[in-house]
Amino acid sequence: MSDRIFGLLMLALAVAYGWGAQQFPVPFGEAEAVGPETFPILLSVLLGFCSLYMMLRPDPDNGWPVGRTLTEMVVVLIVLLAYTAILEELGFVISTTLAVGILCWRMGARLKSAFLVAFLGGVVVYLLFNFVLELPLPAGLLEVV
């Protein structure tokens, strides 16, 4: 079933992508044999055929995560997005301790050791990058210290 749904989505993408290619403005000067739209149109035809085949001859489903597993995965995604959002504000060490700590904990480590590993990892990578590799990472709140 999921093959059919994905096939349908990809078919929609192929059509939209092909239509998009038709809308490109004609480039400056005379039109050439192969313009900016030719290759995309070829691709949209190829993807269209593949997605039709996928809808007609779908493989058996692998089963999608439901319930708790799905919630865990969404939590992880939120952690990753939040990690990015706070990286520059709070600085690398603090945000890494929080993000990696939560990840380790959610994946099954004990709370204390999870945050300890995350903190040590963050500090080591921060020192390594800023002083050995000379690729500065944001200090954030720790800047004053």
């Binding site: 995560p65 997005l81 590799l133």
Partner: protein, 502 residues
């Protein structure tokens, strides 16, 4: 004679102290990556690329380090096959068959040492093959016109799924998705904006390094969470090593055959390391016959697949270096490194960047010796790594991925993009759509379109130029075979590999 001269030059490059240091570091990191559970070679090389890039290493140094990582990962993969009966990566599957029984009989140290020797010799043989074959192939490739290149790219996609691949249509689908992503941005030859939706960050196109790291590393994290891989393995105690010359001599012929077979299957499109180790194992079983104790811990059963998969790994570098067309996931990632260093892979590389190419080849030879030296005395350290629980490992790997991408451009936008690619990668994996063609599409897209353009300009808009020369017809025919064969031969081969496993 020319070759020898270039090779000596290569050694001069590879033996520079900095390069040697990076080779050693790469070899160590590579073995580590290969040994760690759930971190395949392509994945490992992928998360190191941003670092090599933002450190601003010279091209030959960066490439030497990453090829050492690549070679090292092949060594590392065998450790968990032998000790835990869990292959570290796909090609190491065959090593389980005799490696694990040997370990159970209390000969784990011998199995590890033998596999290290076989790996070293196997890739040594294949590197010699590479030295002999690559310049010849590069010369042939010089006669390729744009039409032949276009056909060659099609061939690369068609054979990427491999003969043992499940569904060639899904490979093609993945390839077209990758190629489509590659068209985003300003079209270089006409200046027309394509699919940018007026977002400034998209004008320059989507950086394939971000896509690769997202697709591999972030999706791996999601897959692990779904399967709850749980705790690490208990620490395994090793027996003291007792290896005599007779033991080594015993595996030499096997290793030799395995290396050659591996090399051939690495060079050929659509074969790859898994098939290389499978064929060398089954052939060896036939050659030795009833005298061997295959499947119950025969040292030759460890040597054959290891020589085979290391041979194949080096063989896979031949099409990547000479034609710019990688045949495996890891070589695709290495290609990404080359492109991001502004080196156009392909036959011209042998003349324009001779120091890079030959430096890398020499580094392969040196790297192998380093790996052997690293792997026999230090194997205990790598063994201990097997007990690192994935719940610490994967978050740390994720952090390294974040740091790497961030250090390239200091852009948070790129990090969000990487997370998005991680989700896409997870969905594709769940649907059994392979990720490597997506990446190859991203990498080869611009070149493919350029060659199509040139061909059509030459022919003044006549599409038949694409199949007008004997060479291009040949390439199209192999491409077609690459799509049809998996449907015919694939099920039979897969069944046989399964039967061997059981």
């Amino acid at each position: 004679m020319d070759t020898l001269h270039y090779l000596l030059q290569g050694f001069a490059v590879a033996l520079e102290p900095t390069n040697l240091m990076f080779a050693l570091m790469g070899a160590f990191l590579g073995t580590l990556i290969g040994a760690l559970p759930g971190l395949g070679p392509a994945n490992g090389v992928a998360i190191l690329i941003p670092l090599a890039f933002s450190l601003g290493l010279p091209p030959e140094t960066a490439l030497i380090m990453l090829t050492s990582v690549y070679a090292g990962a092949m060594y590392g993969g065998r450790i968990s096959s032998i000790l835990l009966n869990i292959p570290g990566d796909e090609p190491a599957m065959m090593t389980c068959l005799d490696g694990y029984p040997m370990a159970q009989k209390g000969k784990a140290a011998e199995a590890l040492a033998i596999s290290a020797i076989a790996s070293c010799l196997g890739s040594f043989i294949a590197t010699i093959g590479l030295i002999l074959l690559a310049p010849v192939l590069a010369k042939v490739a010089l006669s390729f016109g744009p039409a032949e290149y276009f056909a060659l790219f099609v061939l690369a996609f068609a054979t990427l799924g491999g003969i043992t691949g499940k569904n060639p249509v899904k490979t093609l689908m993945a390839a077209s998705i990758g190629l489509m992503i590659a068209t985003v941005g300003i079209d270089l030859s006409t200046g027309v904006q394509r699919y940018t939706f007026n977002v400034l960050e998209l004008y320059e196109g989507i950086d394939f390094i971000i896509a690769i790291v997202g697709l591999f590393a972030i999706s791996e994290l999601l897959v692990f969470i779904e399967h709850r891989a749980g705790k690490g393995h208990e620490i395994i105690h090793m027996n003291p090593l007792k290896l005599s010359w007779a033991d080594i001599r015993n595996i030499l012929p096997t290793t030799f055959r395995g290396g050659i077979i591996g090399f051939i299957s690495g060079v050929l499109p659509g074969a790859g390391a898994s098939l290389g180790s499978f064929i060398s194992y089954t052939l060896e079983k036939k050659v030795v016959g009833d005298k061997g104790a295959f499947g119950t811990g025969d040292p030759r059963g460890v040597a054959a697949p290891e020589a085979g998969n290391n041979g194949a790994a080096n063989g896979a570098l031949v099409p990547m270096l000479t034609l710019g067309v990688p045949g495996s996931g890891t070589t695709a990632v290495l290609l990404a490194m080359l492109i991001s260093l502004n080196i156009t892979p392909g036959p011209m590389m042998f003349t324009q960047h001779a120091d890079v190419v030959w430096g890398v080849i020499a580094a392969l030879l040196i790297g192998n010796v380093l790996l052997l030296l690293l792997n026999i005395p230090l194997v205990g350290i790598f063994v201990r790594l097997l007990s690192v629980p994935p719940y610490f490992l994967l978050p740390i790997v994720t952090m390294v991925a974040f740091v790497g991408i961030y250090s390239i451009s200091h852009s948070l936008f790129d990090l969000y993009f990487m997370i998005a690619f991680g989700v896409i990668g997870y969905v594709l994996r769940k649907l059994d759509i392979p990720l490597v063609p997506v990446i190859l599409g991203l990498l080869l897209g611009p070149e493919m379109e350029k060659n199509l353009r040139h061909a059509m300009t030459i022919s003044d808009g006549d599409w038949s130029i694409l199949w007008s020369s004997g060479l291009s017809i040949g390439l199209w025919a192999v491409a077609a075979l690459g799509l049809i064969l998996p449907m015919v031969v694939g099920p039979i081969l897969r069944r046989r590999m399964k039967k061997n496993e059981a």
